[in-house]
């Protein structure tokens, strides 16, 4: 197991390196840089701009800049923002918790909504309840989460005269305010996620319910509740966990739009602002952090298989 995890980590670092090179090259191959943006209206001469670029290390070849960046990043120095001069690692440490909290709240909500609905759907297979829930889940997959956010905001403000409190506060500072600010974006992300969990749970539970060993369990006289919860649900957890791993990419992508709508200072809105400002070091590092989170969650998911399903553990 340990050997497996180490191998996966090495592989992950390798992928992150290719990702870095990919982002690096695209970002610099495209016209427009931070110096030109900053000094656009200041009447600076071409020499002054060149001097400033040299100071930021932007005058070197792309390969040279890449080597510089990787050498420093390995030592834990992600550089400074080209606009504010703040340390990038500090900015990311400030912003990351918001995005992680949003992602975790969404996953929990999605599981709370998705698994029960999926089980009900499977148990009531081909009844009108099943059809209705199926429509719910396909709709959930089709509604853009940012539109859902706008609709929720509109309805709540018109009907209940309620809007989320302004001015972001972290959970540690003020849990009540924080939860009020986070709950709507979390619901928006959770709806899509729960829709796919419903489908996965339904088909997995159905598959187990039709299997030989469930017939045995029923034959020995186990109660229906035990059949479903102890045997069917437990055996379908593997596919649900896999699904969550696969959907983390969607979840992290979704934070960009939702953090922008709900004015949350997370990593998603940071990346959006920084790309527009051509703040290379921040974009570079933030994309890397997103990639690392994605790979890490998938590693955790793969390790969890063994925990849920002992048959995989032995292999």
């Amino acid at each position: 197991m340990v050997e497996y995890i180490i191998r996966r980590l090495i592989f992950g670092i390798f992928v992150l390196f290719i990702m870095t090179a990919f982002i690096f090259i695209i970002m610099r191959a495209v016209p427009g840089d931070v110096v030109t943006l900053q000094l656009a209206n200041s009447g600076a001469t071409a020499e002054q701009m060149d001097a400033m670029k040299a100071e930021m290390g932007l005058d070197k070849s792309i390969l040279g800049q890449l080597t510089d960046w990787v050498t420093k990043a390995v030592q834990g120095d992600l550089g400074n923002s080209l606009w504010s001069g703040q340390e990038v690692s500090q900015i990311i440490v400030d912003r990351l918790p918001v995005t992680i909290q949003l992602a975790i709240m969404s996953i929990i909500l999605a599981i709370l909504i998705g698994i029960p609905i999926g089980v009900i759907s499977a148990v009531k297979q081909n009844t009108w309840i099943d059809h209705f829930l199926k429509i719910f889940s396909v709709s959930g997959l089709s509604i853009p989460n940012f539109w859902l956010g706008l609709v929720l905001l509109t309805v709540l403000s018109l009907a209940l005269n309620w809007i989320p409190p302004l001015g972001f506060q972290s959970f540690a500072e003020n849990p009540m305010v924080n939860l009020q600010q986070m709950i709507l974006p979390a619901i928006c992300l959770a709806i899509t996620l729960s829709a796919s969990i419903v489908r996965m749970t339904r088909s997995a539970v159905l598959e187990v319910l039709h299997s030989e060993f469930i017939r045995t369990v029923r034959a020995k006289g186990a109660r229906e509740r035990i059949v479903i919860f102890k045997h069917a649900l437990r055996n379908s957890l593997v596919s649900v966990i896999t699904l969550i791993g696969l959907q983390v990419g969607y979840l992290l992508g979704g934070t960009v739009v939702l953090e922008s709508i709900f004015a949350l200072p997370g990593l998603g809105s940071l990346i959006f602002e920084s790309v527009l400002a051509r703040d290379y070091p921040i974009v570079q590092s933030a994309v890397l952090v997103f990639g690392a989170m994605f790979l890490l969650v998938n590693l955790i998911v793969d390790v969890m298989y063994g925990w849920v399903d002992p048959r995989i553990r032995t292999k």
Partner: protein, 301 residues
């Protein structure tokens, strides 16, 4: 009649027969699809309807989608403007009708280009295997490890707001997904008996890929394309909503929602209609894709 002529006549006849057979089979498949997948068929009809609306948008739209009418801004739905007007007095219905063009153009271009590139990459990777496969797969892994919307946002923002840039950024996120499916299928096919048979009679790699690879992976590609279409439409809307997709004054649905978000309380209909249009179109593609999957391979669902 010489032997060669006879052979070629025979071959022509065979070809014609097999063509007739495949046309007949296609017709039968369509009939079976209509009868067994009613929801999928209705979704397909709806998609066709939207395509027709997009094609004849200038004829059926009551107003010019970008003509401003300062006298009638933020008008609630009424008999003249069935879905109301936006903050610049533009008719929402007309913008919605014209906006379908943007969604469909972005959707079709992205999916078609991604299928072509993804199939090429996947086939090469899956057929040759070894070091070629290793290098291609690691690059695809790296691209797929960046959350799709973040990568699209990154590329679209760098390239600047334009429809073709949205398409480029969406192609980059879709290609690895198609390539992965095609690669898997290719590896499966490579091991199959009939490919081994054609290799043993001396068929070239190229011929094997073309003759045996392609036809066998049409089903998974078509299903994937239909589902990718919905995702692409949502992604275009998201990018436009953030202001880095389709540039104004184009009536992109995402852009309309972005404008609407400033008038949520005074003009909620602006939020309602573009989002509904977007959701229903994506729903149709998802339902059609699901039905197609059930139809083509009942084991997959």
């Amino acid at each position: 009649m010489s032997q060669v002529q006879l052979d070629s006549e025979l071959l022509k006849g065979k070809l014609k027969a097999s063509r007739n057979l495949s046309v007949k089979k296609f017709k039968e498949d369509c009939k079976r699809f209509i009868f067994t997948q009613k929801i999928g068929f209705i979704s397909l009809l709806f998609i066709l309807l939207v395509i027709i609306i997009a094609l004849i948008a200038p004829i059926i739209a009551p107003f010019d989608p970008i003509a401003q009418d300062r006298a009638a801004f933020l008008a609630a739905p009424n008999s003249e403007h069935v879905m109301g007007t936006d903050d610049l007095g533009r008719d929402v219905l007309s913008r919605l009708v014209h906006g379908s063009r943007i969604s469909l153009i972005v959707g079709f271009s992205t999916v078609i280009i991604s299928i072509i590139l993804g199939t090429l990459i996947g086939m090469v990777s899956g057929y040759f295997g070894g070091i070629v496969d290793m290098i291609i797969q690691r690059i695809m892994d790296a691209i797929m490890s960046i959350p799709a919307l973040i990568l699209a946002l990154f590329i679209a923002a760098l390239l600047g707001p334009a429809i073709q840039n949205v398409i480029i950024s969406l192609v980059i996120i879709e290609v690895p997904r198609f390539a992965r499916i095609v690669r898997g299928e290719m590896m499966r096919i490579r091991e199959s008996n009939y490919v081994e048979a054609s290799r043993s009679v001396g068929a070239s790699s190229f011929r094997i890929i073309l003759k045996h690879g392609l036809p066998n992976m049409m089903a998974p590609i078509i299903v994937m394309a239909s589902l990718a279409f919905g995702q692409t439409i949502i992604a275009e809307a998201s990018l436009s909503f953030l202001g880095i997709g389709t540039p104004p004054p184009n009536p992109s649905w995402g852009l309309m929602l972005s404008d609407a978000s400033r008038y949520m309380e005074s003009a909620p209909w602006l939020v309602l209609f573009p989002g509904l249009a977007l959701s229903i179109l994506v729903l149709a593609f998802n339902l059609f894709g699901d039905a197609l999957r059930d139809f083509l391979d009942p084991k997959m669902s």
